[in-house]
Each structure stands twice: as C-alpha cells, then as structure tokens.
Point group: C2
Chain length 223, copies 2
C-alpha cells in the first residue's frame, strides 16, 4: 500500500505550497502585509488583534480572517464591532488552516482597500506549524499562564516564526514563570527571534510591537 499512498501525501503537500505561493503573490500585488497569527487556545489572539486595531486602526485599514473549528462567529463579531472587515472560516473540525482556506477567505475581503491582513489561525501549537499559508510573517502568541516550558515541548512551531509575542505579562506576579528558562528555549530553536512582551489587558508593551508592525506595513505599501 505504501507505494500508492506516499505519492498522494506528496501531492496534497505540494498543492498547499502552490496555493500558498499564489496567496503570497496576490498579497504582494495588492501591497498588503499579512500575518499568520498562531497560538494555543486562549493565549489571546483575538484580544491581541483588537488591541492592535486600537493602536493602528487610524493609520491603516486592517482585514481579519478568523479560523475556527466550529461554526461560531464570536471572534469575527468582535473584529467587525471594532470597525474592520472580517471573514470567518469554519474548518469543520480540522485542526489548522491551509492555503486553500486562506485563498477562499482572501476572496471575501475588500483587498484593494486594505493595508494589512491578519489571519487568526486555529488555537493549536502543533498542526498549524506544518501548513504554509503564504503570508509574510508567522507570529506566535505565547502567554505567561501557559508556562515557561512550551518552547521545549512544542519546538516545531517556534522554528518557523518571524516574531514572538509574550502575552499576559500583567499576570506575572501571580504565576511561577521563569522568563530566562523560556527565552533560552526560544533562543535554541530560533536564534535572535524578535520578541515583544505585552499585555492585551493593560496595553503594556504595545508601542514597540506597533512600531515594528508599522515599518513592515509601510515597506510593503511602497513596494
């Protein structure tokens, strides 16, 4: 059986990569900067997007694609309430977004009016790491309550990152989290990774993140 099954798997993967390349080209043509935002369930992906809209929504037009495993619009409703266009993708129980789903999502956004698209991936530290979407940056949100050992236990997702956000730093006084141990693990997997510690609750740390994001969006707009 393996002689039959191996080519099928290869075909699926290369189809995803081809679709990812098409997404990337489309986003570049529209001069849109794009982010694949990944995290464990409850690390604060939607809160992070909403706080980012708060800080940068007057400068740039942001579209959001919300990936969920269930047909609920909890997250996309919040984005629309914040004044930005959002599309919900229900994966039908699947544990990650793929490039074809993103292609569908992009076709439902008013791309010619946008500067930035953030894709909120399904809450999962394992499966999304294996599926390229064709975005400009893979960004992971880690959060203090998850614990300081996560880079050691979920290494694959840390390897492909352009930026790491460390959220919920307002909870640091109440939680035993060894930041040095955490950062050592990250450094082993992704040396020199750009990292922003933030609190979506208090807004702490957002200025540095927004400065970085602004420069990326402006670069992409002038390309």
């Amino acid at each position: 059986m393996s002689a039959i099954r191996v080519p099928v798997v290869e075909k699926i993967f290369s189809a995803n990569d081809r679709m990812a390349a098409l997404n990337h080209r489309l986003l570049n043509q529209e001069h849109i900067y794009s982010i694949n935002l990944m995290a464990s369930p409850g690390a604060g992906k939607t809160s992070f997007i909403l706080e980012t809209i708060q800080h940068i929504g007057n400068e740039f037009k942001l579209g959001v694609i919300e990936g969920d495993t269930a047909p609920v619009t909890i997250d996309s409703d919040k984005v629309v309430a914040a004044g930005m266009p959002a599309v919900q993708i229900n994966t039908g129980g699947d544990c990650h977004l793929d490039a074809a789903m993103l292609s569908d999502g992009l076709s439902r956004l008013p791309l010619s009016t946008l500067d930035l698209v953030i894709i909120e991936n399904v809450g999962n530290l394992i499966c999304p790491a294996a599926w390229d979407l064709g975005t400009h940056a893979n960004i992971l949100i880690a959060s203090i309550p998850e614990g300081d050992d996560k880079p050691y236990k979920y290494p694959n997702i840390y390897r492909g990152l352009k930026v790491l956000i460390i959220n919920k730093i307002d909870l640091t006084p109440y939680i035993n989290f060894n930041m040095e141990y955490f950062r050592q693990g990250v450094e082993l997997l992704n040396p020199g990774l750009v990292t922003f510690p933030v609190s979506c609750r208090t807004g702490e740390g957002f200025e540095a993140w927004i400065d970085w994001l602004r420069s990326q969006v402006l670069d992409q707009r002038s390309n």
Copy 2:
C-alpha cells in the same frame, strides 16, 4: 481517487478502535482504573497529576504515561521524582496519542502493581478528541486564563467527557472569566457533566475530586 482513499481511512480508524478495545480489556483484567487526561497546552495537566499523587499516593499505586510531541522528558521526570512509575511517549510531531501508542506505553508499566493509570495526552483541544484510547474516563482540564468561550469554540472535545476539571481558579480575581457563560456552553454540549473547579497551586477543590476518583478506583479494584 476517493473510491480508493475512503476505505483506507476507515481501516485506520477501525484499527485504532480495535486496539482501544484491547487496551480496555487489559486494564480491566488488571483491575486498573484509567484516565485519558486532555487539555490545551499549559492548562496544568502535569501539575494536576502531581497534586493528585500528593493526595492519593499513599492509598493507591499510580502509573503515568506522558504523551509529548517532542523528545523531552520534562513531565515524566517530575512524575518519577514524585515516586511513581512513568513512561514517556514521543509522538514524533503527531498532535495526539492513539490506542497503539497507549498499548506500547502500558507494556512498559508494572501493571500488576498498579491501581490507577493516568495518560497525559498531547496538549491540544482538537485532535485528541477523535482518537479513543480505551481508557475508562476522558477528562479535560480547562483553565481560567484560557477564557470562558472555549466550550463554544472547541465543542468536540467537551462532548466525549466523563469529567471536567476547571483549573487555576486562584487566578479568578485577576481575569475576566464569566463562569456562568462557560458553564452554559458546557451544559449544551454535555448535560450534567461532573465538574471540579480546582487550583493546583493552592490545592483548593482537590478533596471533592479525590473523593470521586477514590470511588472509581475502589469500584474497579473490586470488579
């Protein structure tokens, strides 16, 4: 192609179910009560196991099987340090344990000496829900920092549960978590689900959980 591929998928699933049935029979023969412990990354699975050992380790002999996607022994080392036998299963990047992995794990534990086996599944709210291991109880640990909307967003994992643990209740004062909204979501998916709010940090709530667990282990021992 679909006429060829569908039977293959069915075969994989039924192989898992057959292996799960064998695991279940073996555990019953040994009069061992067994738990498939699932949660999001960082919800406190290992801390919960360690605190359970603290409370019940003098009464019962407990074996632990630790599922991880990476070849790290962080969690199993902690269990061994607490005086109980532990086996580490590295899934090699896979996002869940399956019944065959559990079968391997069980074969490496001194089953004839044990009363209780806890299997710590890979940290993931999606994939483990689809793979029966053959244990006596699927138990999920939710945690306060994850947010109150998780039953609505990850419904499948809540449907197959025997018990729900709500961990990190010591963080309630610092986090906006609507317990009524959370419990309504759980009730829709799994009416009357046995639920224990606990804090692994302070030990709060463990007496009720241990009482429940003790009765299950005693029942199974006398079968």
